[in-house]
């Protein structure tokens, strides 16, 4: 069964460093998303991406964040200058939006630890 994959599974970085989190969505899906989950808290929406551009973003997704689809398969989230409060599990998701309904499938996540 097709699935969303993410790398790395765990990333440790120093505050102020740049990180790139990678995702390979399900191959025929057209809509891509990043969410994050701070330990013990809700899953929170960051950004959605369709047709090579951002379609919606949350207040969390400030100028430190960017997304890119550099080729036909990868979808990346870059954090330019990490802060301690960026430590969280980051989930990538994708959907096909068949009939307009948004059944999103999630990857296994990347645990980001900022020291």
């Amino acid at each position: 069964e097709p699935e969303v994959t993410q790398t790395p599974s765990h990333q440790v970085t120093q505050m102020g460093q740049e990180v790139i989190l990678r995702c390979v969505p399900i191959s025929n899906h057209l809509y891509f998303y990043w969410y994050r989950q701070i330990l013990g808290q809700k899953v929170e929406f960051l950004v959605s991406f369709y047709n090579n551009e951002i379609s919606e973003k949350s207040e969390i997704f400030d100028d430190q964040f960017s997304v890119e689809r550099p080729d036909g398969s990868n979808f990346t989230l870059k954090i330019r200058s990490t802060k301690l409060e960026d430590s969280a599990m980051y989930f990538c998701a994708s959907s096909l939006r068949t009939g307009g309904y948004n059944e999103q499938f999630f990857g296994p996540g990347t645990r980001l630890t900022v020291l």
Binding site: Y31, K42, E103, F105, G109
Partner: protein, 112 residues
Amino acid sequence: EDKVVQSPLSLVVHEGDTVTLNCSYEVTNFRSLLWYKQEKKAPTFLFMLTSSGIEKKSGRLSSILDKKELFSILNITATQTGDSAVYLCAVEADFGNEKLTFGTGTRLTIIP
């Protein structure tokens, strides 16, 4: 602001029991409600409920949506230890908003 509230926050039952998990929501222009199971990492999709599909069933799991009272329930019958997980409820607003708004989840623990 869209809001999703799940109850209870946690639940401990014995194997074989039946459980009911609750999700209430406030969202402008409701479009769909989704249930996910989160074990160690990724939320795994269970059901999507919409105006045209207010009842879903898969094996021992079933879910209904009450659009008038703005809530959904997830039922699990004959629970097994493998059902132990956090169950997440999420809602999607109208077509222009693609994000899912999640509740805090219900942590379900099944004791053998």
